[in-house]
């Protein structure tokens, strides 16, 4: 009781501020000032040429106008083949990429793998993530020649960096007590993965698979431009022949397919939860 009455007599501050993120005020203001100087310098060094900007506008208008009306009729066969090739490429590379990602992802989870396996798998992931799909595609085209096989290789490798990393992270965040409980029953390693880890990571992985399929389809348009086959190659041809109306038709089809995939993946994700 006495401590309560003591409290009433003491004077407590009525102002309180959240402690700053960087407690050293010299360092804090130094960083803020540095950032402002950098921003000003960066904007100043950018050469914005108003004349070229003005010239660009009508050219852009003409360019866009040549897209209309999109031409679905001519080149129909070629476009259709390109699309089928892209869809095929996206599906196969997603499946192959995920099949390779599962063991690599398991190995890259710190709570599952011994240190040297962990380091090896993490290096593979880092390697795959260092190069964007287009660079991988350039390599693959050099190695395997033009065509969808090169695109398939590039997209599969790209999938590993994405999927194995997210799988490993999901495993590392999974509940340790659930894993321990299954281990304590005397289960072997594979049973343990199947009963304790897989149920925890599966729903997210299904969602990510469809998302990756979506990415791989879009990327198939990009890798095609450097010789990886698919709709990208068709699109590239249309541009270089100045058939902008056909290019517009191809772009519209790509948008449509991506939208369908987007819808399908959100539906599937809801369903697995």
């Amino acid at each position: 009781m006495s401590s309560l009455s003591d409290n009433r007599e003491r004077h407590y501050p009525t102002v309180w501020d959240k402690p700053p993120f960087i407690s050293n005020s010299l360092l804090r203001w130094g960083i803020i000032l540095g950032a402002i100087i950098y921003l000003v310098a960066a904007i100043a060094s950018m050469e914005i040429n108003p004349q070229r900007l003005m010239e660009g506008i009508p050219r852009g208008q003409r360019f866009i106008a040549s897209f209309f009306p999109p031409n679905f009729a001519d080149n129909r066969g070629v476009v259709w083949d390109g699309i089928l090739e892209s869809i095929w490429m996206a599906i196969i590379s997603t499946v192959a990429g995920i099949a390779l990602s599962v063991p690599i992802g398991l190995g890259a989870a710190r709570n599952l793998a011994p240190f040297w396996v962990y380091i090896t798998c993490r290096s593979i992931i880092a390697g795959s993530r260092t190069f964007p799909e287009i660079i991988l595609a350039i390599f693959a085209v050099k190695l395997f020649g033009f065509g969808p096989f090169a695109g398939f290789i590039a997209l599969s490798l790209g999938t590993i960096g994405f999927f194995a990393k997210l799988l490993a992270e999901d495993i590392e965040n999974s509940s340790e007590s659930q894993a321990e409980a299954v281990k304590a029953t005397g289960a072997n390693w594979f049973q343990w993965i199947n009963y304790a880890i897989q149920p925890q990571v599966m729903p997210r992985m299904i969602g990510l698979s469809v998302y990756r399929l979506d990415i791989n389809f879009r990327e198939s348009a990009v890798v095609g431009i450097v010789g990886g086959g698919g709709i990208g190659a068709t699109l590239n041809t249309a541009f270089s022949r100045y058939e902008f109306d056909t290019a517009a038709a191809i772009l519209l089809i790509i948008i449509l397919i991506v939208m369908v995939l987007e819808y399908a993946s959100s539906y599937l994700r809801k369903w697995v939860q």
Binding site: S175, S177, Q178, E180, A181, V182, K183, A184, T185, G186, A187, N188, F190, Q191, W192, N194, Y195, A196, P199, Q200, M202, P203
Partner: protein, 261 residues
């Protein structure tokens, strides 16, 4: 019989969690392990099934030295040790039935368990156990749809379907209300006497420990400071285990008859 000899655990962080613990638990004895937070209770039972590797000393179950086992031998021995957890530790996205059957994983091959094709006897036993704890209807529910008390009962089934010789129970009631706590403790107790199981139960509730255990071991700073009958827990003993406090209300004799299911 479970026998711990000079069992010691020092964590990598330097904490000496268990210091030369000697303990002998005869078959079919239910032992309550009490002690303040950080005393080393969880460490002790985890050193037995080696979810935590002891630093030195040994744990021997029915003449098998658990601390010396290879990983294959350890898996085989773990089948004989059922574990029950404070936060139930059910695999939440699996069904109740899968959780119970996971207690048989040590006995069936990988593909059988992968396709959930367990032997008929296992399935029958799973249903029998679920019926025994009053959850027969819940078999196909997902584990995360159950209440805490129901989850703990599933946890008990998972441990028992292993057909264990020893139950390792880590604070089974810490997340439950007082009434459910008693029901769970009574259930564990009944099942132990039905099957003649040895059990180590970590518990914070001294009253519950006195009500349900035949023997109490008090642990403080990784050392056994009390080992004896529940009636022997005098205020002096509790002070020795937990430190200075007014203990008269804690050890008030409880009348077990006046509360019903």
């Amino acid at each position: 019989m479970l026998k711990l000899s000079a069992l010691t655990k020092r964590y990598d962080t330097g904490d000496l969690a268990l210091n030369q613990v000697d303990l002998e638990i005869p078959d079919a004895q239910v032992l309550a392990l009490i002690g303040p937070s950080g005393a080393g209770k969880s460490t002790l039972i985890r050193c037995v099934n080696r979810l935590v590797e002891p630093t030195s000393g040994s744990a021997t179950l029915n003449d098998i030295n658990l601390t010396k086992l290879s990983s294959r031998g350890l898996r085989k021995s773990r089948r004989k040790m059922g574990m029950i957890f404070q936060e139930y530790a059910l695999v939440e996205r699996l069904t109740v039935m899968e959780n119970v059957l996971s207690g048989r994983l040590g006995y069936v091959g990988f593909w059988r368990s992968y396709f959930r094709k367990f032997p008929k006897d296992d399935i029958k036993e799973a249903f029998r156990l679920l019926d025994r704890v009053g959850l027969l209807e819940m078999a196909d529910k997902r584990a995360d749809e159950l209440s805490g008390g129901q989850r703990q009962r599933v946890g008990i089934c998972r441990a028992l379907i292993q057909n264990p010789d020893l139950l390792l129970v880590d604070e089974p009631t810490a997340s439950l209300d007082p009434k459910t706590s008693r029901q769970i403790m009574r259930l564990i107790n009944e099942l132990c006497s039905e099957r003649g199981l040895t059990a180590i139960i970590n518990i914070h509730d001294v009253l519950l420990a006195q009500m349900f255990a035949q023997r109490i071991v008090g642990l403080a700073n990784g050392e056994v400071v009390y080992d004896g009958k529940p009636e022997g827990l005098t205020p002096e003993v509790l002070t020795q285990i937990y430190g200075e406090e007014d203990w008269t209300a804690t050890i008030e004799k409880v009348d077990e008859e006046d509360e019903e299911e």
